[in-house]
Amino acid sequence: MAGIRIESLAKRYNAVSAVDGVTLDVRDGEFLVLLGPSGCGKTTTLRMIAGFVAPSEGCVRIGARDVTHEPPYRRNIGLVFQNYALFPHLTVEENVAFGLRRRRVGEAAIRTRVATALSRVKLDGFGGRYPRAMSGGQQQRVAIARAIVIEPDVLLLDEPLSNLDAQLRHDVRGELRRLQTELGITTIMVTHDQDEAMSVADRLAVMEKGQVRQVGTPSEIYRRPADRFVASFVGRANFYAGRAERGIFVTASGLRLPVADLAEGADTLMIRPEAVGLRPAGADGLAATVETATYLGAGWELELRLAGGERLSVVAPDAGEHWRQGQILTAHVAPTAGVGMRTGS
Protein backbone atom coordinates (compact mmCIF):
# COMPACT_ATOMS: atom_id res chain seq x y z
CA MET A 1 0.00 0.00 0.00
CA ALA A 2 1.10 3.51 -0.63
CA GLY A 3 -0.12 7.03 -1.01
CA ILE A 4 -0.17 8.85 -4.33
CA ARG A 5 1.32 12.23 -4.92
CA ILE A 6 0.84 14.06 -8.18
CA GLU A 7 2.53 17.36 -8.76
CA SER A 8 1.70 20.06 -11.31
CA LEU A 9 0.43 17.40 -13.67
CA ALA A 10 -0.50 18.75 -17.08
CA LYS A 11 -1.52 17.30 -20.42
CA ARG A 12 -1.86 19.29 -23.60
CA TYR A 13 -3.20 18.00 -26.89
CA ASN A 14 -1.91 20.43 -29.45
CA ALA A 15 -3.45 23.70 -28.30
CA VAL A 16 -6.01 22.06 -25.99
CA SER A 17 -5.20 21.78 -22.32
CA ALA A 18 -6.90 18.61 -21.07
CA VAL A 19 -5.28 18.79 -17.63
CA ASP A 20 -3.74 22.02 -16.47
CA GLY A 21 -1.53 21.77 -13.42
CA VAL A 22 -3.11 19.32 -11.00
CA THR A 23 -1.48 18.75 -7.63
CA LEU A 24 -2.99 16.14 -5.32
CA ASP A 25 -1.95 14.17 -2.30
CA VAL A 26 -3.84 10.96 -1.72
CA ARG A 27 -3.08 9.46 1.65
CA ASP A 28 -2.27 5.82 2.18
CA GLY A 29 -5.54 3.92 2.35
CA GLU A 30 -7.65 6.90 1.40
CA PHE A 31 -10.61 6.86 -1.00
CA LEU A 32 -10.39 9.98 -3.12
CA VAL A 33 -12.96 10.85 -5.77
CA LEU A 34 -12.23 13.09 -8.75
CA LEU A 35 -15.52 14.81 -9.40
CA GLY A 36 -16.36 17.14 -12.24
CA PRO A 37 -18.42 17.65 -15.36
CA SER A 38 -17.74 15.75 -18.55
CA GLY A 39 -14.61 16.94 -20.33
CA CYS A 40 -12.96 18.53 -17.28
CA GLY A 41 -9.95 16.22 -17.46
CA LYS A 42 -10.76 13.51 -14.90
CA THR A 43 -10.06 10.58 -17.19
CA THR A 44 -6.89 12.15 -18.53
CA THR A 45 -5.65 12.67 -14.96
CA LEU A 46 -6.44 9.08 -14.04
CA ARG A 47 -4.78 7.76 -17.19
CA MET A 48 -1.64 9.72 -16.40
CA ILE A 49 -1.56 8.09 -12.97
CA ALA A 50 -2.09 4.69 -14.59
CA GLY A 51 0.60 5.35 -17.18
CA PHE A 52 -1.45 5.32 -20.38
CA VAL A 53 -1.02 9.01 -21.04
CA ALA A 54 2.37 10.66 -20.83
CA PRO A 55 2.15 13.96 -18.94
CA SER A 56 3.25 17.12 -20.72
CA GLU A 57 4.45 18.34 -17.35
CA GLY A 58 4.58 17.25 -13.74
CA CYS A 59 5.18 13.97 -12.01
CA VAL A 60 3.38 11.05 -10.40
CA ARG A 61 4.63 9.34 -7.27
CA ILE A 62 3.23 6.12 -5.85
CA GLY A 63 4.57 5.68 -2.35
CA ALA A 64 8.23 6.63 -2.50
CA ARG A 65 8.49 5.71 -6.18
CA ASP A 66 8.48 8.29 -8.97
CA VAL A 67 6.56 6.39 -11.65
CA THR A 68 6.20 9.26 -14.13
CA HIS A 69 8.27 7.43 -16.72
CA GLU A 70 7.27 3.87 -15.84
CA PRO A 71 5.01 2.00 -18.27
CA PRO A 72 1.62 0.87 -16.90
CA TYR A 73 2.72 -2.74 -16.53
CA ARG A 74 5.39 -1.78 -14.02
CA ARG A 75 3.23 0.44 -11.81
CA ASN A 76 1.38 -2.24 -9.83
CA ILE A 77 -2.02 -0.62 -10.19
CA GLY A 78 -5.49 -2.06 -10.21
CA LEU A 79 -7.68 -0.54 -12.90
CA VAL A 80 -11.45 -0.69 -13.30
CA PHE A 81 -13.15 0.69 -16.42
CA GLN A 82 -16.64 1.89 -17.13
CA ASN A 83 -17.13 -0.84 -19.73
CA TYR A 84 -15.70 -3.60 -17.47
CA ALA A 85 -13.05 -4.55 -20.07
CA LEU A 86 -13.01 -8.21 -19.10
CA PHE A 87 -11.10 -10.67 -21.27
CA PRO A 88 -13.95 -12.16 -23.33
CA HIS A 89 -12.03 -15.31 -24.21
CA LEU A 90 -11.24 -16.24 -20.61
CA THR A 91 -13.43 -17.59 -17.84
CA VAL A 92 -14.12 -15.47 -14.78
CA GLU A 93 -11.49 -17.45 -12.90
CA GLU A 94 -8.86 -16.91 -15.59
CA ASN A 95 -9.76 -13.24 -15.82
CA VAL A 96 -9.04 -12.85 -12.13
CA ALA A 97 -5.94 -15.05 -12.34
CA PHE A 98 -4.45 -13.02 -15.22
CA GLY A 99 -2.44 -10.57 -13.11
CA LEU A 100 -1.22 -13.34 -10.81
CA ARG A 101 0.01 -15.39 -13.75
CA ARG A 102 1.96 -12.37 -15.01
CA ARG A 103 3.54 -12.25 -11.54
CA ARG A 104 4.44 -15.94 -11.75
CA VAL A 105 2.47 -16.85 -8.66
CA GLY A 106 2.27 -20.63 -8.08
CA GLU A 107 -0.78 -22.55 -9.28
CA ALA A 108 -2.00 -23.43 -5.78
CA ALA A 109 -1.67 -19.86 -4.53
CA ILE A 110 -3.43 -18.58 -7.64
CA ARG A 111 -6.36 -20.86 -6.94
CA THR A 112 -6.79 -19.74 -3.34
CA ARG A 113 -6.28 -16.05 -4.09
CA VAL A 114 -8.73 -16.11 -6.99
CA ALA A 115 -11.31 -17.86 -4.82
CA THR A 116 -10.81 -15.31 -2.03
CA ALA A 117 -11.13 -12.38 -4.43
CA LEU A 118 -14.29 -13.80 -6.02
CA SER A 119 -15.81 -14.38 -2.63
CA ARG A 120 -14.97 -10.80 -1.60
CA VAL A 121 -17.12 -9.55 -4.47
CA LYS A 122 -19.79 -12.19 -3.71
CA LEU A 123 -19.24 -14.22 -6.84
CA ASP A 124 -18.40 -17.59 -5.29
CA GLY A 125 -19.20 -20.33 -7.73
CA PHE A 126 -19.09 -18.10 -10.83
CA GLY A 127 -15.46 -18.94 -11.66
CA GLY A 128 -16.24 -21.21 -14.58
CA ARG A 129 -18.49 -18.78 -16.41
CA TYR A 130 -17.57 -16.59 -19.32
CA PRO A 131 -18.08 -12.84 -18.98
CA ARG A 132 -20.73 -12.78 -21.72
CA ALA A 133 -22.90 -15.05 -19.57
CA MET A 134 -23.03 -12.50 -16.74
CA SER A 135 -24.97 -9.34 -16.03
CA GLY A 136 -23.35 -5.91 -16.06
CA GLY A 137 -23.21 -5.75 -12.29
CA GLN A 138 -21.59 -9.17 -12.08
CA GLN A 139 -19.09 -8.28 -14.78
CA GLN A 140 -18.10 -5.14 -12.94
CA ARG A 141 -17.59 -7.17 -9.76
CA VAL A 142 -15.34 -9.55 -11.69
CA ALA A 143 -13.39 -6.52 -12.91
CA ILE A 144 -13.02 -5.34 -9.32
CA ALA A 145 -11.89 -8.79 -8.18
CA ARG A 146 -9.38 -8.90 -11.05
CA ALA A 147 -7.99 -5.53 -9.98
CA ILE A 148 -7.68 -6.21 -6.25
CA VAL A 149 -6.39 -9.77 -6.42
CA ILE A 150 -2.93 -8.54 -7.42
CA GLU A 151 -2.76 -6.47 -4.22
CA PRO A 152 -2.04 -3.29 -6.15
CA ASP A 153 -0.50 -0.23 -4.52
CA VAL A 154 -3.41 1.81 -5.78
CA LEU A 155 -6.83 1.14 -7.20
CA LEU A 156 -8.03 3.42 -10.00
CA LEU A 157 -11.64 3.42 -11.19
CA ASP A 158 -12.99 5.44 -14.13
CA GLU A 159 -16.77 5.88 -13.89
CA PRO A 160 -17.10 2.27 -12.76
CA LEU A 161 -20.82 2.51 -12.06
CA SER A 162 -21.99 4.53 -15.04
CA ASN A 163 -23.07 1.55 -17.13
CA LEU A 164 -25.22 0.08 -14.36
CA ASP A 165 -28.86 0.84 -13.71
CA ALA A 166 -29.84 2.91 -10.70
CA GLN A 167 -30.45 0.19 -8.11
CA LEU A 168 -27.34 -1.74 -9.07
CA ARG A 169 -25.27 1.41 -9.05
CA HIS A 170 -26.36 1.96 -5.48
CA ASP A 171 -25.52 -1.61 -4.43
CA VAL A 172 -22.18 -1.83 -6.19
CA ARG A 173 -21.00 1.50 -4.85
CA GLY A 174 -21.79 0.30 -1.32
CA GLU A 175 -19.81 -2.88 -1.94
CA LEU A 176 -16.98 -0.92 -3.42
CA ARG A 177 -16.73 1.31 -0.37
CA ARG A 178 -16.92 -1.69 2.02
CA LEU A 179 -14.25 -3.54 0.06
CA GLN A 180 -11.99 -0.51 -0.03
CA THR A 181 -12.25 -0.09 3.72
CA GLU A 182 -11.61 -3.79 4.37
CA LEU A 183 -8.55 -3.86 2.16
CA GLY A 184 -7.32 -0.39 3.11
CA ILE A 185 -6.24 0.17 -0.47
CA THR A 186 -5.45 3.68 -1.70
CA THR A 187 -8.15 4.44 -4.24
CA ILE A 188 -8.94 7.12 -6.78
CA MET A 189 -12.31 7.00 -8.47
CA VAL A 190 -13.52 9.26 -11.26
CA THR A 191 -17.16 10.23 -11.58
CA HIS A 192 -19.38 13.05 -12.76
CA ASP A 193 -22.15 12.04 -10.36
CA GLN A 194 -22.04 14.06 -7.14
CA ASP A 195 -24.28 11.66 -5.14
CA GLU A 196 -21.99 8.81 -6.02
CA ALA A 197 -18.93 10.89 -5.16
CA MET A 198 -20.28 12.05 -1.81
CA SER A 199 -21.40 8.60 -0.77
CA VAL A 200 -18.07 6.81 -1.18
CA ALA A 201 -15.35 9.41 -0.83
CA ASP A 202 -13.11 10.14 2.14
CA ARG A 203 -12.20 13.25 0.23
CA LEU A 204 -13.33 14.81 -3.02
CA ALA A 205 -11.31 16.74 -5.55
CA VAL A 206 -13.67 18.83 -7.65
CA MET A 207 -12.32 19.59 -11.10
CA GLU A 208 -13.23 22.13 -13.74
CA LYS A 209 -11.47 22.90 -17.02
CA GLY A 210 -8.44 20.77 -16.28
CA GLN A 211 -7.87 22.19 -12.80
CA VAL A 212 -8.72 21.14 -9.28
CA ARG A 213 -11.03 23.75 -7.78
CA GLN A 214 -11.23 22.32 -4.28
CA VAL A 215 -10.17 19.30 -2.26
CA GLY A 216 -11.97 18.33 0.93
CA THR A 217 -14.25 15.91 2.71
CA PRO A 218 -17.74 15.62 1.23
CA SER A 219 -19.19 17.80 3.99
CA GLU A 220 -16.46 20.44 3.65
CA ILE A 221 -17.13 20.59 -0.06
CA TYR A 222 -20.86 20.76 0.41
CA ARG A 223 -20.96 23.15 3.35
CA ARG A 224 -18.02 25.36 2.55
CA PRO A 225 -17.50 25.29 -1.22
CA ALA A 226 -14.56 27.37 -2.35
CA ASP A 227 -16.31 28.93 -5.29
CA ARG A 228 -19.52 29.24 -7.19
CA PHE A 229 -18.70 26.38 -9.54
CA VAL A 230 -18.04 23.91 -6.73
CA ALA A 231 -21.10 25.09 -4.83
CA SER A 232 -23.47 24.49 -7.73
CA PHE A 233 -21.81 21.30 -8.90
CA VAL A 234 -22.36 19.46 -5.63
CA GLY A 235 -25.85 20.73 -4.89
CA ARG A 236 -28.43 23.48 -5.22
CA ALA A 237 -27.49 26.93 -4.01
CA ASN A 238 -28.71 30.53 -3.83
CA PHE A 239 -26.13 33.16 -4.76
CA TYR A 240 -26.16 36.85 -3.91
CA ALA A 241 -23.77 39.49 -5.13
CA GLY A 242 -22.61 42.09 -2.60
CA ARG A 243 -19.71 42.85 -0.26
CA ALA A 244 -18.38 41.86 3.14
CA GLU A 245 -18.38 44.39 5.97
CA ARG A 246 -16.85 43.14 9.24
CA GLY A 247 -18.83 39.93 9.52
CA ILE A 248 -21.90 41.24 7.75
CA PHE A 249 -22.65 40.47 4.10
CA VAL A 250 -24.43 43.35 2.42
CA THR A 251 -26.29 42.38 -0.73
CA ALA A 252 -26.58 44.61 -3.75
CA SER A 253 -30.12 45.55 -2.68
CA GLY A 254 -28.97 46.40 0.83
CA LEU A 255 -29.96 43.28 2.80
CA ARG A 256 -27.59 42.75 5.72
CA LEU A 257 -26.82 39.17 6.74
CA PRO A 258 -24.44 38.23 9.55
CA VAL A 259 -22.13 35.49 8.29
CA ALA A 260 -19.72 33.48 10.41
CA ASP A 261 -16.10 33.31 9.18
CA LEU A 262 -16.79 35.84 6.46
CA ALA A 263 -13.61 36.65 4.59
CA GLU A 264 -13.02 40.31 3.78
CA GLY A 265 -13.21 40.75 0.04
CA ALA A 266 -16.01 38.21 -0.43
CA ASP A 267 -18.27 39.40 -3.22
CA THR A 268 -20.76 36.54 -3.34
CA LEU A 269 -22.84 34.88 -0.65
CA MET A 270 -23.96 31.28 -1.06
CA ILE A 271 -26.89 29.84 0.88
CA ARG A 272 -28.02 26.19 0.56
CA PRO A 273 -31.82 25.86 0.23
CA GLU A 274 -32.06 23.48 3.19
CA ALA A 275 -29.98 25.73 5.46
CA VAL A 276 -32.77 28.29 5.60
CA GLY A 277 -35.24 28.14 8.48
CA LEU A 278 -38.89 29.11 7.95
CA ARG A 279 -40.70 31.07 10.67
CA PRO A 280 -44.00 32.91 11.00
CA ALA A 281 -44.28 36.43 9.62
CA GLY A 282 -42.84 39.01 11.95
CA ALA A 283 -40.24 36.71 13.51
CA ASP A 284 -36.57 37.64 13.54
CA GLY A 285 -35.10 37.23 10.03
CA LEU A 286 -35.79 38.19 6.43
CA ALA A 287 -39.34 39.07 5.47
CA ALA A 288 -40.36 37.03 2.42
CA THR A 289 -43.33 36.26 0.19
CA VAL A 290 -44.03 32.76 -1.10
CA GLU A 291 -43.94 32.79 -4.91
CA THR A 292 -44.34 29.06 -5.45
CA ALA A 293 -44.79 26.25 -2.96
CA THR A 294 -44.39 22.61 -3.96
CA TYR A 295 -45.15 19.76 -1.59
CA LEU A 296 -42.76 16.82 -2.08
CA GLY A 297 -43.90 14.45 0.65
CA ALA A 298 -40.72 14.54 2.67
CA GLY A 299 -40.83 18.31 2.67
CA TRP A 300 -41.50 21.53 0.83
CA GLU A 301 -39.77 23.29 -1.96
CA LEU A 302 -40.41 27.03 -1.82
CA GLU A 303 -39.46 29.93 -4.02
CA LEU A 304 -39.45 33.06 -1.90
CA ARG A 305 -39.11 36.70 -2.84
CA LEU A 306 -37.23 38.78 -0.28
CA ALA A 307 -37.91 42.39 0.62
CA GLY A 308 -35.07 43.63 -1.59
CA GLY A 309 -36.48 41.78 -4.59
CA GLU A 310 -34.05 38.81 -4.44
CA ARG A 311 -35.24 35.26 -4.88
CA LEU A 312 -34.47 32.62 -2.27
CA SER A 313 -35.00 28.89 -2.90
CA VAL A 314 -35.77 26.95 0.25
CA VAL A 315 -36.13 23.24 0.93
CA ALA A 316 -37.82 22.63 4.28
CA PRO A 317 -38.84 19.39 6.00
CA ASP A 318 -42.58 18.82 6.37
CA ALA A 319 -43.41 20.15 9.82
CA GLY A 320 -47.17 20.26 9.38
CA GLU A 321 -47.50 23.72 7.87
CA HIS A 322 -49.28 24.27 4.61
CA TRP A 323 -47.45 26.89 2.59
CA ARG A 324 -49.40 28.78 0.00
CA GLN A 325 -48.53 31.15 -2.77
CA GLY A 326 -48.66 34.78 -1.63
CA GLN A 327 -48.16 33.91 2.00
CA ILE A 328 -45.88 36.18 4.03
CA LEU A 329 -43.27 34.53 6.25
CA THR A 330 -39.81 35.00 7.69
CA ALA A 331 -36.75 33.25 6.31
CA HIS A 332 -34.09 32.71 8.91
CA VAL A 333 -30.51 32.42 7.68
CA ALA A 334 -28.22 31.46 10.56
CA PRO A 335 -24.71 33.02 10.49
CA THR A 336 -23.28 29.54 9.84
CA ALA A 337 -25.65 28.94 6.89
CA GLY A 338 -24.12 31.48 4.55
CA VAL A 339 -20.76 31.07 2.85
CA GLY A 340 -18.93 34.07 1.48
CA MET A 341 -16.84 33.54 -1.61
CA ARG A 342 -14.88 35.55 -4.05
CA THR A 343 -15.89 35.04 -7.66
CA GLY A 344 -12.97 37.13 -8.82
CA SER A 345 -14.92 38.78 -11.60
Binding site: P72, R75, G99, R103
Partner: protein
Amino acid sequence: MSGETILGRRPVEILARAALRAATALVLAYIAMPLALVVWLSFMAGEIMVVPPEGYSLRWYGVAWNQDQLRSGFVTSLWVAAVATTLGLLVTVPASFALARGRFPGREAVLQLLMSPLIVPGIVIGASIYVFLVQVEIETGLPLAGSAWGIVVAHLLLTVPWCVRLVTANLVGVNRSVEEAALSLGASPLVTALTVTLPMIWPGLVAAAVFGFVVSFGNIEVSLFLVAPGQTTLPIAILQYLQWKIDPTIAAVSVAQIVLIGAALVATSRITNLGKVV
Protein backbone atom coordinates in the same frame (compact mmCIF):
# COMPACT_ATOMS: atom_id res chain seq x y z
CA MET B 1 -59.37 -0.98 -45.24
CA SER B 2 -61.06 -1.24 -48.60
CA GLY B 3 -57.97 -1.91 -50.74
CA GLU B 4 -56.95 -4.99 -48.78
CA THR B 5 -57.68 -8.62 -49.55
CA ILE B 6 -58.84 -11.13 -46.98
CA LEU B 7 -55.21 -11.98 -46.29
CA GLY B 8 -54.57 -8.40 -45.31
CA ARG B 9 -52.27 -7.72 -48.25
CA ARG B 10 -52.90 -5.82 -51.41
CA PRO B 11 -52.51 -7.64 -54.73
CA VAL B 12 -49.72 -5.24 -55.72
CA GLU B 13 -47.77 -6.23 -52.67
CA ILE B 14 -48.22 -9.93 -53.38
CA LEU B 15 -47.04 -9.41 -56.95
CA ALA B 16 -44.01 -7.47 -55.80
CA ARG B 17 -43.07 -10.21 -53.40
CA ALA B 18 -43.41 -12.88 -56.06
CA ALA B 19 -41.24 -10.83 -58.44
CA LEU B 20 -38.59 -10.41 -55.76
CA ARG B 21 -38.56 -14.15 -55.05
CA ALA B 22 -38.30 -14.95 -58.75
CA ALA B 23 -35.42 -12.52 -59.25
CA THR B 24 -33.61 -13.93 -56.24
CA ALA B 25 -34.06 -17.49 -57.47
CA LEU B 26 -32.80 -16.51 -60.92
CA VAL B 27 -29.60 -14.94 -59.58
CA LEU B 28 -28.93 -17.89 -57.29
CA ALA B 29 -29.49 -20.32 -60.15
CA TYR B 30 -27.13 -18.28 -62.32
CA ILE B 31 -24.42 -18.50 -59.66
CA ALA B 32 -25.02 -22.19 -59.01
CA MET B 33 -25.14 -23.15 -62.70
CA PRO B 34 -21.40 -23.67 -63.38
CA LEU B 35 -21.12 -25.59 -60.15
CA ALA B 36 -24.02 -27.84 -61.07
CA LEU B 37 -22.76 -28.33 -64.63
CA VAL B 38 -19.30 -29.31 -63.47
CA VAL B 39 -20.69 -31.82 -61.00
CA TRP B 40 -22.99 -33.23 -63.68
CA LEU B 41 -20.15 -33.52 -66.22
CA SER B 42 -17.92 -35.30 -63.76
CA PHE B 43 -20.39 -38.15 -63.47
CA MET B 44 -20.93 -38.67 -67.21
CA ALA B 45 -19.80 -42.08 -68.37
CA GLY B 46 -18.72 -41.24 -71.90
CA GLU B 47 -15.41 -39.82 -72.97
CA ILE B 48 -17.09 -37.21 -75.10
CA MET B 49 -19.40 -34.92 -73.26
CA VAL B 50 -22.80 -35.09 -74.88
CA VAL B 51 -26.30 -34.31 -73.80
CA PRO B 52 -28.09 -36.48 -72.95
CA PRO B 53 -25.12 -38.40 -71.47
CA GLU B 54 -24.47 -42.01 -72.44
CA GLY B 55 -24.72 -42.98 -68.77
CA TYR B 56 -23.29 -42.18 -65.40
CA SER B 57 -20.18 -43.45 -63.66
CA LEU B 58 -17.47 -42.60 -61.18
CA ARG B 59 -14.64 -43.66 -63.50
CA TRP B 60 -13.32 -40.13 -64.12
CA TYR B 61 -12.53 -39.71 -60.46
CA GLY B 62 -10.32 -42.79 -60.74
CA VAL B 63 -8.77 -41.51 -63.93
CA ALA B 64 -8.04 -38.16 -62.35
CA TRP B 65 -6.43 -39.75 -59.33
CA ASN B 66 -4.21 -41.84 -61.59
CA GLN B 67 -2.97 -38.83 -63.53
CA ASP B 68 0.41 -38.19 -61.90
CA GLN B 69 0.44 -34.68 -63.26
CA LEU B 70 -2.88 -33.79 -61.67
CA ARG B 71 -2.15 -35.55 -58.41
CA SER B 72 1.22 -33.91 -57.94
CA GLY B 73 -0.33 -30.58 -58.95
CA PHE B 74 -2.86 -31.03 -56.23
CA VAL B 75 -0.15 -31.77 -53.66
CA THR B 76 1.96 -28.82 -54.80
CA SER B 77 -1.00 -26.44 -54.67
CA LEU B 78 -1.83 -27.70 -51.22
CA TRP B 79 1.56 -27.06 -49.66
CA VAL B 80 2.24 -23.87 -51.60
CA ALA B 81 -1.06 -22.44 -50.36
CA ALA B 82 -0.36 -23.61 -46.81
CA VAL B 83 3.14 -22.13 -46.71
CA ALA B 84 2.14 -18.88 -48.46
CA THR B 85 -0.74 -18.44 -46.02
CA THR B 86 1.40 -19.16 -42.95
CA LEU B 87 4.12 -16.79 -44.09
CA GLY B 88 1.48 -14.26 -45.03
CA LEU B 89 0.07 -14.30 -41.51
CA LEU B 90 3.51 -14.16 -39.92
CA VAL B 91 4.29 -11.04 -41.92
CA THR B 92 0.94 -9.33 -41.76
CA VAL B 93 -0.02 -9.81 -38.12
CA PRO B 94 2.81 -7.60 -36.81
CA ALA B 95 2.27 -5.21 -39.73
CA SER B 96 -1.44 -5.00 -38.94
CA PHE B 97 -0.68 -4.17 -35.31
CA ALA B 98 1.47 -1.29 -36.47
CA LEU B 99 -1.15 -0.14 -38.98
CA ALA B 100 -4.13 -0.46 -36.66
CA ARG B 101 -2.47 0.98 -33.57
CA GLY B 102 0.37 3.18 -34.72
CA ARG B 103 0.19 6.80 -35.71
CA PHE B 104 3.25 7.29 -37.85
CA PRO B 105 3.96 9.23 -41.01
CA GLY B 106 3.38 7.17 -44.13
CA ARG B 107 0.96 4.83 -42.41
CA GLU B 108 -1.61 5.20 -45.16
CA ALA B 109 1.04 4.66 -47.83
CA VAL B 110 2.26 1.44 -46.19
CA LEU B 111 -1.29 0.15 -46.02
CA GLN B 112 -1.84 0.90 -49.71
CA LEU B 113 1.46 -0.76 -50.58
CA LEU B 114 0.48 -3.94 -48.77
CA MET B 115 -2.87 -3.93 -50.55
CA SER B 116 -1.35 -3.21 -53.97
CA PRO B 117 -1.00 -6.82 -55.19
CA LEU B 118 -4.79 -6.71 -55.53
CA ILE B 119 -4.57 -4.06 -58.23
CA VAL B 120 -1.53 -5.34 -60.16
CA PRO B 121 -2.55 -7.95 -62.77
CA GLY B 122 -1.47 -11.40 -61.60
CA ILE B 123 0.29 -12.17 -64.87
CA VAL B 124 2.47 -9.10 -64.36
CA ILE B 125 3.33 -10.13 -60.81
CA GLY B 126 4.22 -13.64 -61.99
CA ALA B 127 6.29 -12.41 -64.93
CA SER B 128 8.21 -9.86 -62.88
CA ILE B 129 9.00 -12.32 -60.15
CA TYR B 130 10.17 -14.79 -62.80
CA VAL B 131 12.46 -12.21 -64.39
CA PHE B 132 13.74 -11.24 -60.96
CA LEU B 133 14.43 -14.85 -59.96
CA VAL B 134 16.23 -15.54 -63.23
CA GLN B 135 18.40 -12.49 -62.62
CA VAL B 136 19.16 -13.62 -59.07
CA GLU B 137 19.94 -17.10 -60.35
CA ILE B 138 22.37 -15.70 -62.89
CA GLU B 139 24.09 -13.57 -60.25
CA THR B 140 24.25 -16.12 -57.46
CA GLY B 141 23.96 -19.48 -59.12
CA LEU B 142 21.15 -20.51 -56.79
CA PRO B 143 18.54 -22.57 -58.71
CA LEU B 144 15.59 -20.32 -57.93
CA ALA B 145 13.74 -19.78 -61.18
CA GLY B 146 12.54 -23.35 -61.55
CA SER B 147 11.93 -24.08 -57.86
CA ALA B 148 8.61 -24.21 -56.07
CA TRP B 149 9.88 -21.51 -53.71
CA GLY B 150 9.44 -19.04 -56.53
CA ILE B 151 5.77 -19.94 -56.57
CA VAL B 152 5.59 -19.57 -52.78
CA VAL B 153 7.17 -16.12 -52.94
CA ALA B 154 4.71 -15.08 -55.62
CA HIS B 155 1.72 -16.49 -53.76
CA LEU B 156 2.81 -14.65 -50.64
CA LEU B 157 1.87 -11.51 -52.56
CA LEU B 158 -1.60 -12.99 -53.03
CA THR B 159 -2.18 -13.80 -49.39
CA VAL B 160 -0.74 -10.58 -47.92
CA PRO B 161 -3.51 -8.15 -49.02
CA TRP B 162 -6.24 -10.44 -47.71
CA CYS B 163 -4.49 -11.01 -44.42
CA VAL B 164 -3.70 -7.31 -43.93
CA ARG B 165 -7.23 -6.27 -44.66
CA LEU B 166 -8.89 -8.84 -42.41
CA VAL B 167 -6.45 -8.65 -39.51
CA THR B 168 -6.37 -4.84 -39.49
CA ALA B 169 -10.17 -4.63 -39.59
CA ASN B 170 -10.39 -7.05 -36.68
CA LEU B 171 -7.74 -5.22 -34.66
CA VAL B 172 -9.53 -1.93 -35.10
CA GLY B 173 -12.62 -3.57 -33.63
CA VAL B 174 -10.85 -4.65 -30.43
CA ASN B 175 -11.85 -2.65 -27.37
CA ARG B 176 -8.67 -0.89 -26.30
CA SER B 177 -9.56 -0.88 -22.63
CA VAL B 178 -9.35 -4.69 -22.60
CA GLU B 179 -5.73 -4.41 -23.71
CA GLU B 180 -5.16 -1.65 -21.18
CA ALA B 181 -6.57 -3.88 -18.46
CA ALA B 182 -3.94 -6.48 -19.37
CA LEU B 183 -1.17 -3.87 -19.29
CA SER B 184 -2.32 -2.63 -15.89
CA LEU B 185 -2.22 -6.20 -14.61
CA GLY B 186 1.46 -6.44 -15.46
CA ALA B 187 1.47 -7.82 -19.01
CA SER B 188 4.01 -6.22 -21.33
CA PRO B 189 2.75 -5.07 -24.75
CA LEU B 190 4.06 -8.27 -26.37
CA VAL B 191 2.44 -10.51 -23.75
CA THR B 192 -0.76 -8.50 -24.08
CA ALA B 193 -0.77 -9.00 -27.84
CA LEU B 194 -0.18 -12.75 -27.50
CA THR B 195 -2.47 -13.53 -24.57
CA VAL B 196 -5.27 -11.03 -25.08
CA THR B 197 -5.40 -9.39 -28.49
CA LEU B 198 -4.69 -12.38 -30.73
CA PRO B 199 -7.13 -14.68 -28.92
CA MET B 200 -9.74 -11.94 -29.23
CA ILE B 201 -9.28 -11.64 -33.00
CA TRP B 202 -8.90 -15.39 -33.51
CA PRO B 203 -11.93 -15.61 -35.82
CA GLY B 204 -10.41 -12.89 -38.01
CA LEU B 205 -7.12 -14.80 -38.17
CA VAL B 206 -8.92 -17.97 -39.23
CA ALA B 207 -10.83 -16.04 -41.89
CA ALA B 208 -7.60 -14.45 -43.14
CA ALA B 209 -5.96 -17.87 -43.35
CA VAL B 210 -8.88 -19.40 -45.24
CA PHE B 211 -9.13 -16.55 -47.73
CA GLY B 212 -5.39 -16.54 -48.28
CA PHE B 213 -5.42 -20.29 -48.80
CA VAL B 214 -8.33 -20.24 -51.24
CA VAL B 215 -6.89 -17.38 -53.28
CA SER B 216 -3.51 -19.10 -53.51
CA PHE B 217 -4.95 -22.53 -54.24
CA GLY B 218 -7.04 -21.37 -57.17
CA ASN B 219 -4.55 -18.98 -58.73
CA ILE B 220 -3.43 -19.40 -62.34
CA GLU B 221 -2.04 -16.09 -63.62
CA VAL B 222 0.66 -15.51 -61.03
CA SER B 223 1.87 -19.11 -61.21
CA LEU B 224 1.94 -19.31 -65.00
CA PHE B 225 5.56 -18.21 -65.50
CA LEU B 226 6.87 -19.87 -62.38
CA VAL B 227 5.88 -23.49 -62.77
CA ALA B 228 8.37 -26.05 -64.00
CA PRO B 229 8.07 -29.76 -64.76
CA GLY B 230 7.36 -31.50 -61.48
CA GLN B 231 6.61 -28.13 -59.85
CA THR B 232 3.19 -27.46 -61.21
CA THR B 233 0.15 -26.24 -59.30
CA LEU B 234 -3.22 -27.86 -59.80
CA PRO B 235 -4.85 -25.07 -61.85
CA ILE B 236 -1.89 -25.07 -64.23
CA ALA B 237 -1.90 -28.85 -64.42
CA ILE B 238 -5.56 -28.66 -65.36
CA LEU B 239 -4.77 -26.06 -68.00
CA GLN B 240 -2.02 -28.21 -69.45
CA TYR B 241 -4.25 -31.29 -69.44
CA LEU B 242 -6.96 -29.38 -71.29
CA GLN B 243 -4.51 -28.47 -74.02
CA TRP B 244 -4.34 -32.03 -75.28
CA LYS B 245 -7.49 -33.65 -74.03
CA ILE B 246 -11.00 -32.66 -73.10
CA ASP B 247 -12.86 -35.24 -71.09
CA PRO B 248 -14.74 -35.32 -67.76
CA THR B 249 -11.47 -35.91 -65.86
CA ILE B 250 -11.11 -32.18 -65.39
CA ALA B 251 -14.65 -31.95 -64.13
CA ALA B 252 -13.86 -34.61 -61.55
CA VAL B 253 -10.76 -32.68 -60.43
CA SER B 254 -12.79 -29.50 -60.22
CA VAL B 255 -15.40 -31.19 -58.08
CA ALA B 256 -12.66 -32.39 -55.74
CA GLN B 257 -11.32 -28.83 -55.51
CA ILE B 258 -14.79 -27.36 -54.94
CA VAL B 259 -15.44 -29.89 -52.17
CA LEU B 260 -12.11 -29.10 -50.50
CA ILE B 261 -12.57 -25.32 -50.56
CA GLY B 262 -16.24 -25.58 -49.69
CA ALA B 263 -15.37 -27.71 -46.67
CA ALA B 264 -12.78 -25.15 -45.56
CA LEU B 265 -15.33 -22.34 -45.82
CA VAL B 266 -18.01 -24.29 -44.00
CA ALA B 267 -15.57 -25.26 -41.24
CA THR B 268 -14.54 -21.62 -40.89
CA SER B 269 -18.04 -20.32 -40.62
CA ARG B 270 -18.60 -22.94 -37.92
CA ILE B 271 -15.75 -21.55 -35.80
CA THR B 272 -16.29 -17.96 -36.72
CA ASN B 273 -19.06 -15.82 -37.96
CA LEU B 274 -17.62 -15.10 -41.40
CA GLY B 275 -20.19 -12.45 -42.12
CA LYS B 276 -19.02 -10.63 -39.04
CA VAL B 277 -15.25 -10.78 -39.37
CA VAL B 278 -14.85 -10.18 -43.08
